[in-house]
């Protein structure tokens, strides 16, 4: 009798768990169209060979502005971008901590734009940067550091508790990607080939205080410490995006920080001509982010620095890597061609313009 009872309890628990898992998978946002950057963090864990020379961490200024395929093709550098939408410094720290459980890169590149934020900004960005992490103490700590007052830690452990109300807004995308995902990025790089020239940028507003906040510095210190502890070179980078404005005062603080900690800090905004960027052609959103052509230029320039400063060996002759990266490159060029075709046919990229697709009755 007792045995029967235990078996039935176990069956009930299994049924409940299975249903909960399936429902969670169905109800969680898929980020396969429009806000595709939400899919970036999780995609890293599908990577077959988690062994990279360079690891980028940061916000859109890394995942939109650098192309690991270019770094591979030009310099034989293997790299991955663990970027996320409005990734804040503490997000970056915990992402790095989690990444180090799988691999130990030679160089970590951190995008310093996130230093401008000293407090959590929006729940949506927390979600995009944390939900994709596998459940671990790192994820819990990341959530604790990032949560807004209205958020609950338990919803990061059981995201179903957060997304349960999406039942009324499920779309065909949710069912299509219920149990599988498309590959969105190219080693974390989000490709866009469309062009929107940078026009006149808004005048930077004066700030009351130009000093970066204590929390931002605290986590930058933690990143520095973590890299030092693991024998990783840390590079601080300001990517060549024109907006948000990167103030002189901010730049100076990063110069000082790098000097104090013996780090390399590169403000690529100072080298736009050397990079060869043309903001009439190399941006898809008027200077906020680079498009493919811009990202490839920035990667070529930055790859050269990486190569010369850190002596990263050229691995293009490694047969195993060659095969892996060839596959990646094929997908990269296929997507590039596909995007050009869409631009020609529709005048815009389908994946990023779902509203226009609906208006034009196009199914991407």
């Amino acid at each position: 009798m007792k045995k029967k009872k235990i078996i039935s309890i176990v069956i009930v628990i299994l049924v409940i768990t299975s249903i909960a898992v399936l429902l969670q998978k169905l109800l969680m946002p898929k980020y396969m169209t429009q806000i595709v950057e939400g899919a970036l963090i999780k995609e890293y864990y599908y990577e077959k060979l988690k062994d990279h020379d360079v690891m980028f961490i940061g916000d859109c200024e890394v995942y939109e502005n650098f192309s690991p395929i270019t770094l591979w093709e030009e310099y034989g550098i293997t790299s991955y971008i663990r970027g996320g939408a409005q990734q804040l410094v503490w997000h970056s720290y915990y992402l790095l901590e989690d990444t180090l459980k799988y691999e130990k890169p030679d160089v970590v590149v951190f995008s310093v734009l996130a230093m401008m934020y000293n407090e959590p900004q929006r729940e949506a960005y927390n979600r995009m940067n944390i939900d994709g992490l596998p459940l671990s103490l790192t994820k819990i700590n990341a959530a604790r550091a990032s949560m807004l007052p209205e958020e609950d830690l338990i919803t990061y452990v059981f995201p179903l508790l957060r997304y349960h109300s999406r039942w009324s807004e499920l779309s065909s995308e949710d069912y299509r990607y219920w149990l599988r995902r498309d590959q969105i990025s190219h080693n974390g790089y989000l490709m866009r080939v469309d062009v929107k020239p940078a026009g006149r940028l808004p005048t930077p507003r004066l700030l009351d205080d130009y000093r970066f906040g204590e929390t931002a510095y605290k986590y930058l210190d933690k990143i520095t410490e973590l890299c030092k502890k693991n024998g990783i070179e840390l590079v601080l980078i300001k990517a060549p995006s024109l907006y948000p404005h990167w103030y002189e005062e901010w730049d100076q603080q990063m110069v000082d920080y790098a000097e104090k900690n013996g780090l390399l800090y590169i403000n690529m905004l100072d080298d736009i001509d050397k990079i060869g960027l043309d903001f009439e052609m190399d941006t898809y959103d008027a200077g906020l982010h680079l498009n493919l052509s811009g990202a490839e230029k920035a990667s070529r320039y930055f790859g050269n620095i990486l190569k010369s400063r850190f002596n990263i060996p050229d691995k293009r002759n490694d047969e195993k890597l060659k095969a892996i990266w060839q596959e990646k490159a094929d997908y990269y060029y296929k997507m590039e061609q596909e995007q050009y075709r869409e631009l020609e046919e529709y005048g815009y990229l389908l994946k990023f313009n779902m509203k226009r697709n609906e208006e034009n009755k196009i199914k991407p």
């Binding site: 049924v15 429902l23 349960h164 009324s168």
Partner: protein, 529 residues
Amino acid sequence: MLFTSYSFIFFLCILISLYYLIPKRLQWKFLLLGSFVFYFFSGWSNLLYILVTIISTYFTGLKIDDLNRKQNAYLKENKGQITKEERKLYKEKIKAKQWKLLLICLIFNLGILAVVKYTNFAIANINSVLSMFRMTELSFVNLILPMGISFYTFKTMGYIIDVYRGKYEPERNIGKLALFVSFFPQLIQGPISRYDDLSKSLYQEHSFDSQTFSYGFQRVLWGYFKKLVVADRIVAAVLTITRNPDIYDGVYVFVGMVFYAIQLYADFTGGIDITIGVAQMLGIEVKENFIRPYFSKSIVEYWRRWHITMGTWFRDYIFYPLSVCKPMLNLSKASRNRFGDKIGKRVPVYLATMMVWFTTGIWHGSSWNFIVWGLLNGVVILISQELEPLYAKFHQKVKIGDTFGFRLFRVIRTFLLMSSLRILDCYRDVGISFKMFFTMFTKPDIRVLFDGSLLKLGLDASDYVVLIIGVIVLLTFSLIQRKGSVREMLSYNSAVLRYSIYIILFFSVLIFGAYGIGFDSNQFIYNQF
């Protein structure tokens, strides 16, 4: 710590696990500790209030009992030595002392409740008088209402009155009394348990019983279904209508009134289901507080089935004592002499009834809305009573039998009547409440029910689908419940069917519950009382 918060569920899991793991003799002490921890989360100052009430009630109870013992000892010692008259006098003297103690205790504890709950209401009323004479108005005071103060104050009052009446001996262990007063599932919104009811199982040693535990868990789940799926979803429309009387009048008021009736029922009975279920999971029996109140055929019946423990509390501790107190008996005598038996005998009953309803109203909230609501309940009950013979005559004449149709008519009539009175709960003042009530008749534009206007009240089509299904489930459950306990009926069915129902219920709460970001975290409506 709200019942609907993750912290409460976490707290409950820890508490219940440890409760059955620790030695049984320590269980009640552990529950006391748990109750204090629960209460502490609502603010440490709240803990002070409840401690003061516990201590004052405890010592008053002991003192009253000491006097009883003293009296018994004296009478035993002097048996045969004192006259009957002396005996009576001595007893009266003791009773007077006990009465004084009781009065002090009641005034003290009611005083605390009155100060924290009604000070600003009193100031607002004084200010409205002062402003008429253009005098300087008083400033409001910043007092936080301790969670569940109305409930635990009434519990202690009932206890001390019963001790005074000699219904039972006072609790000599202050810890046990403290547990009775602060038992955490009841702290938020009752039921207002009596000491002799609750203490039977509260201090007992409980072994884990899977059947009882499972029943308790099912009851908790059912409570969450009512609260999260129905009450917290419909609240958006209720608030939209009642907070914007300038925009939403006429038929909207009717919609708001019906929606509020659904919200209040699902909210309050859901909360009580959670309370009773949690207690049951701990092996403790808590009295029922509702018996399908919306199936009542008259307002009197409704009040026998809605918030039962409050109704019986007012009946036992206010109505009866008031009806038989000396001044009331004198009044009865005088009015009989003056107006004759027929009217005279009604005067004290009317007076006691209206006083009870005034108290009921003000207990619900410190505003004129609640006072008027309470008094109107009293008036409707008295009118119904007076019209009873007339109804009987009418029924005899037109020969309306006890048909299903007529019963349904009476149920709907009572539901609408009670819902109309509750309009006073919803609007910010009495004037607006009445104004809105009358717009139901002056602006009967029923097009708003069909032209999509209802989709602009903060609920979309999917919300309505959930609500309609939710209400159908509640109604079906109540209909089945008339034949007996649904859980027992289910237990006779196959395990697959039973567990399927539980699992569906669990996931309904999880998926369709209105909780988390995007939904206002709604306290239980009765928390504030």
